[in-house]
């Protein structure tokens, strides 16, 4: 089903109103495996239409997946009723004007054509690649985002995505690897499984570590997750305006090591490219941190209007379900450094901790960027510049600004780390990041051993 005609039909159903329709289609398959079998295979085919109606400055939103004429008529009625029930929003900037979105890559015919057989076979390839039990999934999908409005917006983008993640695990040992791309052929599920299994083979006999501030190497999987959580509060305009962001009052200040540069760049073909946001505004590359100096945050039109400080949309309006959160980056990218390998980073660290990935993060103090969580599936001691004996899963409670204040090095190569847990409607995103060495990783406790 093509999304843009559905968006146009929704606008037509709301005749007489100022209206904007956002249509997101999904056709996907996810073959989830555990041990030696696929145990949760899920095929999804859906279309969701979200209609925003404005009446006398009052805004109401309704959504449906009934896209036939009677469903869209009912959608328009409910959106109008929601608008009538609201009160006018001071400073509401109105619906977005038409804009030319940039040309981006991000759709691949072969990936779009993958069906349940191919998805299951790729899962089977991961299972067959190692004698260690593997736990994870292969998924691929095609999505289309289309927007039409009475203000003249008519735009759509088709996207594909594919991800394999693997935890290779047995009693007392586990390792992790993943790969994501908008081209499924660039993923090798068997290679991902072998990487995870190799890591797992080195985690038997893990020991505890004393709570202390360690030098550490964080693999891209860990850095991607950490930036994502830090970004929830610190990289968005609404959090900045509400003084919840670490960036509040610090824009223009040097806060991080000069090797740290972070941007949000949905246009980069190495990521999962997006041309426009959920109100049709073109995506822009937004510098967040340059050479350690805080430069800014991402904006949508609502927060820019509220700020009244010359800010403008950077193309980061969220979907309706996340409107209360405000704009946030979904294509984070950290610039790489000079290190040719993670082993080089271990040499820079000397003695410390090696972290593969993180688990169950939670923001303890958004304004100071304090986050807690656990390490998982591959934590090691670093001794004399070499990755050494395995450690149990460690609790960390870190100030991200402290962690990024002294960065001995970063790898040159970047890895696309999947950021989506595929809740709700599919809208794949991820972070393109290097491995990183830090002088400060605050371990506050020891937890479970790796593995099952």
């Amino acid at each position: 089903m093509s999304a843009l005609p559905v968006a146009q039909d929704a606008i037509d159903a709301a005749a007489g109103d100022e209206a904007e329709a956002v249509v997101l289609t999904e056709r996907s398959g996810l073959a989830r495996f555990a041990g030696r079998e696929v145990h949760q295979p899920t095929l999804i085919d859906n279309v969701v239409v979200t209609l925003r109606v404005v009446r006398d400055g009052k805004v109401g939103i309704a959504a449906t997946n009934r896209v036939e004429p009677d469903g869209l008529r009912e959608l328009a009625r409910r959106a109008g009723q929601a608008a009538d029930s609201s009160v006018a929003t001071p400073g509401f900037p109105g619906l977005a004007p038409p804009a030319d979105p940039p040309d981006v890559q991000g759709w691949d015919e072969e990936t779009a054509a993958l069906g349940p057989d191919e998805q299951a076979h790729r899962a089977a390839a991961a299972i067959a690649a190692t004698t260690t039990g593997v736990y994870g999934f292969f998924t691929s999908g095609e999505t289309e985002l289309a927007i039409a409005s009475t203000a003249g917006v008519r735009t759509s983008q088709s996207m594909t995505d594919a991800t394999t993640i693997v935890v290779a695990a047995d009693r007392g040992c586990s390792g992790y690897a993943e790969a994501s791309s908008w081209r499924a052929r660039s993923l090798d599920p068997a290679a991902v499984a072998r990487e995870a299994a190799e890591k797992a083979s080195r985690t038997n006999g893990a020991a505890a570590a004393d709570p202390a501030r360690y030098r550490a190497v964080l693999e891209p999987y860990a850095i991607g997750t950490l930036l994502e959580y830090f970004g929830f509060d610190s990289f968005g305009a609404q959090a900045l305006l509400e003084e919840r962001s670490y960036f509040s009052g610090r824009i223009g200040q040097r806060a991080f090591d000069e090797k740290v540069t972070i941007v949000d760049d949905a246009l980069d073909p190495r990521g999962l490219p997006k041309a426009f946001d959920f109100e049709g505004m073109p995506k822009q590359r937004v510098p967040l941190v340059e050479d350690g100096v805080i430069r800014g945050v991402v904006w949508d039109r609502a927060t820019a209007a509220r700020a009244s400080n010359g800010a403008h949309s950077t193309g980061h309006a969220p979907p309706a379900s996340l409107l209360a959160h405000g704009p946030f980056p979904a294509a984070l990218q950290m610039t790489g450094g000079d290190a040719e390998s993670i082993e080089e980073l271990a040499e820079l660290v000397g003695d410390g901790i090696y972290v593969t990935r993180l688990h169950y993060l939670s923001v303890v103090d958004p304004r100071e960027g304090v986050i807690t969580g656990m390490t998982r599936d591959g934590t090691f001691r670093i001794r004399g510049g070499k990755v050494a004996e395995p450690l149990v899963n460690l609790r960390f409670t870190v100030s991200v600004p402290e962690l990024l204040a002294d960065v001995p090095g970063l790898t040159r190569d970047l890895t696309l780390v999947n950021g989506s847990d595929f809740y709700g409607e599919r809208y794949p995103f991820g972070a393109l990041v290097p491995a990183l060495a830090t002088a400060s990783f605050n371990v506050t406790g020891s937890g479970s051993r790796p593995g099952l």
């Binding site: 555990a34 109401g60 009934r66 299951a120 939670s362």
Partner: protein, 477 residues
């Protein structure tokens, strides 16, 4: 919807499935949020479709279709069977036997929350926010939600179960920023307020407006409060934070699918082994945990679960010893005990998983004040702020919005940025008192995540305040 589900099951059996179930769901959800006295969102969302789960040659398959039509039902069944055939399968897969069920369940309510006019919902939020205003507060917000779901389940072994369930809830928050950092206070609970499976009279009974002045005054007071010290001390934990403690450190680790490893790639596994049933010392003799899918107003209350197993009330921990698991028909058959009863799917386009229903800490005796009176030096902790626990559910750290020092059995100065941490069985082993039934409150959790693709679940926990001895508070470094 029943006829469509029957069509889907017949189509799956004709395509070679040895077992099939079909769920048709129509859900409508309304959310209203105001922030800083502006309407942030007024949304009215509906979603419908049919999901078909099949077993073909010992392999599971699941597919769904948004169309509630005969064609949609048949195509979903065919695709589910095709996916199952393509997927590697285990040798043999047994399901615990059950008697076919015929049931029709409707949530008891006085006012259907979806039928309450949106204007009334907006008005309630604005009134609550007006009562939150103080000059030192930089963000106030109020929200209410309402949901109605009609669901039909048909299984190939003869069950037909119909549900019409409504949920609703609401809450308020005040946030303040200053030299004391960023502080938040919430009522009745953090994270979008308190929800129940009930009519709108539940939201009216929350009295959001009446509680607003205390909430906002405490948010401001936290800015100048002393930080919680880092030390090992006695703690009394309020009923709301105890709900999350039960959820994370008892609910998830007793899910039998996690114990067998099928959640290892995402939410994790468990420190418990199948053979621990009846012998694992989980906590002190004061610890009694019950799973109860029949609890009045519980978000996890139903007549039959999403594979047709009757709702039950059963012990999970009795006097500190592991007494039960949360199970599906498949995992119950593996362990050879019970018949399941905890299989729940987020909605029509997700497979059912082993989920909590309503999981309660049984009340003890006495009051919260009596628990506090039994502490010479300690901390009283209230309202969740942050939460994290390891993949086996052993090492946890929780933060609370507010705390008070306890000195000689009485509350003293207010403390900000409080956290506490522990290892699950050690922590529960230090439990030495749970307040009585008069302080027992049902809390709704609406953001429980699990599965790939991700699924949210709504569950409830009844808890009373509880006292633990010798707990690490503050962040050890």
């Amino acid at each position: 919807m029943r006829a469509l589900c029957e069509t889907a099951v017949e189509a799956a059996l004709a395509a070679g499935a040895s077992y099939a179930d079909a769920r048709a769901v129509v859900r409508r959800n309304q959310q209203v949020m105001t922030k800083n006295r502006r309407v942030e969102t007024v949304t009215d969302v509906e979603s419908e479709g049919i999901g078909v789960r099949v077993l073909v040659d010992g392999a599971w398959g699941f597919a769904c279709d948004r169309r509630l039509t005969e064609q949609g039902a048949r195509e979903a069944a065919a695709r589910a069977c095709a996916f199952a055939r393509a997927a590697p399968s285990a040798d043999g897969r047994a399901l615990a036997p059950i008697a076919p069920a015929q049931a029709h369940y409707v949530t008891a309510r006085e006012r259907d929350p979806i039928e309450v006019p949106l204007e009334e919902k907006v008005g309630l939020c604005i009134a609550a926010e007006e009562a939150l205003q103080l000059p030192q507060v930089n963000v106030t917000q109020a929200s209410v939600r309402a949901q109605k779901e009609q669901k039909v389940l048909v299984t190939s072994d003869g069950s037909v179960v119909e549900h019409e369930q409504v949920e609703c809830g609401g809450g308020i928050d005040a946030m303040a920023a200053g030299d004391g950092g960023f502080q938040i206070r919430s009522y009745p609970t953090a994270h979008n307020g308190l929800s129940a499976q009930a009519g709108w009279e539940f939201v009216e009974g929350l009295d959001l407006v009446g509680h607003a002045p205390r909430v906002t005054e405490q948010a401001v007071a936290l800015l100048t409060a002393d930080p919680c010290p880092s030390e090992v001390t006695d703690v009394v934990i309020d009923a709301e934070q105890m709900a999350l403690q039960v959820h994370e450190s008892v609910g998830h680790p007793t899910e039998l699918d996690r114990i067998y490893g099928t959640e290892a790639s995402y939410a994790g596994t468990s420190f418990i082994q199948p053979g621990d049933l009846g012998s694992l010392r989980y906590g002190s003799e004061h610890m009694n945990i019950t799973s109860d899918a029949t609890t009045e107003r519980g978000l996890g209350t139903f007549s039959y679960d999403d594979e047709g197993v009757a709702a039950v009330r059963e012990p999970i921990v009795r006097e500190g010893v592991l007494a039960g698991f949360l199970t599906s028909r498949e995992t119950a058959a593996k362990i050879g005990a019970g018949a399941g009863g905890s299989m729940r799917a987020d909605t029509w386009n997700r497979m059912p998983l082993v989920r909590m229903t309503n999981l309660h800490l049984e009340p003890g005796e006495g009051t919260k004040d009596e628990l506090i009176a039994g502490v010479k030096k300690g901390v009283y902790l209230e309202t969740n702020k942050s939460w994290s626990i390891d993949d086996k559910r052993l090492n946890f750290q929780f933060g609370t919005q507010i705390a008070w020092e306890i000195r000689d059995g009485k509350l003293g100065r207010m403390l900000r940025d409080a956290t506490y941490t522990g290892i699950t069985p050690v922590f529960w082993g230090s439990l030495d008192g749970v307040a009585g039934p008069e302080e027992w409150v049902l809390h709704g959790v609406t953001n429980c995540g699990k599965g790939q693709p991700g699924q949210g679940a709504h569950v409830s926990h009844g808890t009373s305040p509880a006292r633990f001895r010798g707990v690490q508070v503050g962040i050890k470094s």
